[in-house]
């Protein structure tokens, strides 16, 4: 039972993230933030280091007079970024737009 498993297989969720090392990933964070970048490191808390990152933040404001919802999208770029794992919601390997 305690043998070594083939490194390709997925038998626990973190394996999915391991297979994404040095690949492009989409990371959804709390607070309507999304990152796209190359995954260079992570641990069991989902702390991560990403390279060539683009962050997209979506915020909704309500116009006080017309009560219209104004949706604004802000984009920022970072060459190298450490992300603390506790804000991570979802990680998806590969970029498909």
């Amino acid at each position: 039972m305690a043998g070594v498993q083939p490194s390709g297989g997925i038998e626990e969720p973190l394996d999915l993230v391991r297979l994404a090392l040095n690949e492009l990933v989409r990371v959804r964070l709390r607070g309507q933030r999304e990152l796209r970048g190359r995954l260079h490191a992570f641990d069991q808390h989902l702390n991560m280091i990403l390279g060539d990152v683009e962050e997209t933040t979506v915020s909704v404001e309500v116009d006080e007079e017309t009560f219209e919802e104004i949706i604004t999208t802000e984009r920022r770029k970072f060459p190298m970024l450490f992300v603390r794992g506790d804000t991570v919601v979802l990680i998806s390997p590969g970029i498909t737009t």
Partner: protein, 102 residues
């Protein structure tokens, strides 16, 4: 422990720490502990107009749990080393799990 080791190699380097409350602090990494609490020296607060009370602060201690991002300089980071270290650490975790469950 992986990121504790990573940040130990970054001591003395310039970093930008972005907090969950959107406060962003640039400075030199003085030290780090296992919780990824950090001490930053010679700080400047980005967007200082909205945080004038921090203008006179030179050094600070930041609790790890309030950090959102730490921006790094690519030249300070060896990505191949990071990827190998990540794989190694995962293997160790699995080994520890298996010996605990058997």
């Amino acid at each position: 422990m992986l990121f504790f080791s990573v940040f130990k190699t970054l001591v003395g380097k310039e970093v930008v720490v972005e907090l969950k409350n959107d406060l962003t602090i640039r400075g030199r990494l003085h030290s780090v502990d296992q919780y990824l609490n950090v001490k930053i020296e010679d700080i400047t607060v980005l967007d200082a107009d909205t945080h004038p009370h921090l203008l006179s602060v030179k050094n600070c201690f930041i609790r790890g749990s309030v950090v959102r991002y730490i921006h790094l300089a690519p030249k300070d980071v060896d990505v191949e080393l990071l990827e190998d270290a990540t794989r190694r650490q995962l293997k160790e975790m699995k080994r520890a799990q298996m010996s605990a469950s058997s």
